[in-house]
């Protein structure tokens, strides 16, 4: 890539906007995933009895079962949220930046 093109894209407001929104979106989702996962394992490390408590009085199923399954599903949902926005909004913005970089 030529330096002149680098400078042009670097100062393109669309590029600045793309980088800013995407990185804050990606970091937010990353932090959500980290909080969910480390919240889960640290709860177990500090007090395993919380997840070992029965769902309702007399039931064998513990709270840990739906919580564990929810952690798995949350990972899938978070990837879905990211892909949906990235493959739509972010890719459109990227296409605009590319067209400008080539066209000018």
């Amino acid at each position: 890539m030529k330096q002149e093109m680098v400078d042009r894209i670097k100062n393109d407001p669309d590029f600045i906007h793309l980088v800013k929104t995407r990185s804050s979106f990606a970091w937010t989702l990353t932090i959500v995933m980290l909080v969910i996962y480390f919240g889960f394992v640290l709860t177990i490390a500090f007090d395993p009895s919380i997840l070992g408590a029965p769902m309702s009085a007399g039931s064998v199923t513990t709270i840990g079962i739906p919580v564990g399954v929810a952690v798995i599903i949350s990972a899938f949902i978070l990837t879905g949220i990211y892909v949906r926005r990235a493959n739509g909004e972010f890719d459109e913005l990227t296409a605009k930046i590319k067209a400008k970089a080539k066209g000018e």
Binding site: M33, I65, I72, T79, Y82, V83
Partner: protein, 552 residues
């Protein structure tokens, strides 16, 4: 009981990926062998088809870049769902209940992070290997050498674990000799990779992922149908056969340091596995790369939920079932040991729900799984040798694709022979630590360099080289001094380093080392490397310059 306990403890280390413990050879299993022969025939057919389409280095390394997001998602999930993971995690659930679920969740949560942080950047910057990205603006020779070394170490450790697991599993399932099984796996894998390259490796992986998911779904549904799709009934039956402890967290995660360290190893380790990272170059663009992770996360998560049900299914249908009881072992150790050990829980369950025919099917799928996983690993190792070491370091980029591909094929054969040899050497060793070590190396050396090369403008060659090596060494030394090698493998009474998972220390060492040796680097090349970040960043964010077969 002692042997069973020893097996359980060694499994807790990295049960999801490594089969351990002694196994006995079983009588020849004809229906399994027939189905396996059909699978091998079909995959060799695919290899023949792929060989005709594998003409250039790009075809060989990345299947021509024409794999779709869904196909790649299946292949990634296939890479992750090894036989050891299927049998090991269901065995962990069978043995310890809820701990198996905690363990499998750790393997899953790295995927969203890979998507948010590295997947599309990787696709936009790289060509064939992750070293392409790590060395993008740094000095080729030292960084490629370090990255290739990290890749090869990771691949070989992983391969040993898979080969030993394969030998034992095949002994159990098919009644073949250990050596015969290991050689068979090695030879088939060499055939797939040398002739069919990434295209054959990917399709073998996709077919196997489909078969494994179908088989596991059938088993889980059969178990649930038996209990009218009521989890409470399933769990209460399981508890009545064992005890309430299987429903709650046990000893797997006992202190916060281990909990965080295991989490870091699994998360960053996944994002540093060369055979996984390589898959992102097989799709056409960033959009497909993202889709691959979305599908892979869904499929892997679904698979772990299935293994949890399968583990509980095995408790209610296999545990204490006289048909699967190992009477000889029970006479010595007491308890209710099952034939072939806990790792056979899912296999026995397949017989319990589907009879001899389905047992044969699941056995054949387990064998197919091993083949597919070792093929992907070998291809990644061979690429590090041919693309990074041969083409970039030795020939300084002055070689043509055909020669590079030839070197890659020679490297594949060599790695195959090494894998067979090590598989036989390590037969009776406790190899539970191997995958743990592979993840530690991937998390502590490969990942920090890759991540900082993408996101930190001040990274320099010196920082990456010294910090990355520091991470690699710290990981290796702490694993050796820790309980899994020092006590379980070398037989000392007490570990010098108390934690099983060193990642929290070794990953920190790598990041701090890279940071320190970069900011104190005032050389002229360092200044140029920092300057080059802008252009790299624009390409990583937009993919400009990355379309099609880019040379850089």
């Amino acid at each position: 009981m002692k042997a069973l306990l020893a097996l359980l403890f060694s499994m807790a280390a990295f049960a999801g990926e490594a089969l351990t413990g002694a196994v006995e050879k079983q009588p020849l299993n004809m229906s399994a062998i027939t189905m396996f022969v059909i699978f091998v025939g079909a995959t060799l057919g695919i290899t023949y088809w792929a060989a005709k389409r594998t003409k250039t280095a790009k075809d060989f390394y990345t299947a021509g870049g024409g794999i779709t997001g869904f196909q790649n998602g299946m292949a990634i999930a296939g890479d992750y769902m090894s036989a050891a993971s299927f049998l090991g995690i269901s065995a962990l659930v069978y043995g310890k209940g809820y701990d198996g679920l905690i363990y499998s969740i750790g393997f899953l949560v790295g995927w969203p992070i890979i998507l948010f942080m590295v997947a599309e950047q990787l696709r936009n910057l790289g060509k064939y290997t992750f070293a392409d990205v790590a060395s993008y603006r740094l000095r080729q020779t030292p960084i490629r050498t370090l990255a290739a070394f990290g890749s090869i170490v990771t691949v070989i450790l992983y391969l040993i674990a898979q080969m030993v697991g394969a030998g034992k599993l095949i002994q159990l399932l098919f009644g073949l000799d250990y050596e015969v099984a290991v050689i068979l796996v090695g030879v088939l894998m060499i055939l797939y990779v040398t002739f069919g390259g990434m295209l054959a490796t990917t399709w073998v992986q996709i077919i196997k992922a489909f078969l494994l998911l179908s088989g596991a779904t059938f088993m889980a549904v059969a178990v649930m149908a038996h209990y009218n799709f009521n989890f409470e009934t399933l769990f209460s039956t399981a508890v009545s056969m064992k005890d309430q402890a299987i429903m709650a967290p046990g000893k797997l995660v006992s202190d916060p340091i281990s909990a965080i360290s295991l989490g870091i190893a699994l998360m960053f380790g996944t994002a540093g596995l060369p055979h996984i990272l390589m898959r992102f170059f097989t799709v056409s663009d960033a959009k497909e790369a993202r889709k691959s992770v979305f599908y892979a996360t869904g499929l892997i998560g679904y698979f772990y939920i299935l293994t949890f049900i399968i583990g509980f299914g095995a408790i209610v249908m296999v545990f204490k079932n006289p048909q699967y009881l190992d009477l000889a072992k029970q006479a010595v150790d007491g308890g209710f040991p099952i034939l072939g050990g806990d790792n056979m829980a899912a296999i026995h369950l397949s017989h319990a729900v589907g009879g001899d025919f389905f047992l044969g099917f699941i056995s054949a799928v387990a064998f197919a799984t091993i083949l597919a996983v070792v093929s992907g690993l070998t291809l990644a190792g061979a690429s590090a040798i041919s693309h990074d070491l041969y083409a970039s370091v030795i020939k300084q980029g002055k070689t043509d694709g055909l020669m590079e591909m030839k070197v890659s094929k020679i490297a594949t054969v060599a790695l195959g022979i090494v894998a067979i040899y090590l598989g036989i050497v390590f037969e009776s060793q406790n190899i539970a630590f191997m995958v743990g070590l592979a993840f530690a190396v991937a998390a502590s050396a490969n990942f920090p360099i890759l991540f900082l090369s993408m996101y930190w403008s001040k990274l320099t060659t010196r920082g990456a080289l010294l910090g990355g090596s520091l991470g690699l060494l710290t990981a290796a030394v702490l694993v050796i001094l820790g309980p899994t090698v020092w006590v379980d493998f070398l037989g000392h009474a007490e570990a010098i380093f108390p934690y099983k998972y060193p990642a929290i220390f070794s990953v920190s060492a790598a990041f701090i080392g890279i940071w320190f040796f970069s900011i104190t680097d005032s050389s002229e090349t360092a200044a140029k490397e920092k300057e080059a970040y802008e252009a790299q960043f624009i390409r990583s964010q937009t993919g400009i310059g990355a379309e099609g077969a880019v040379e850089h």
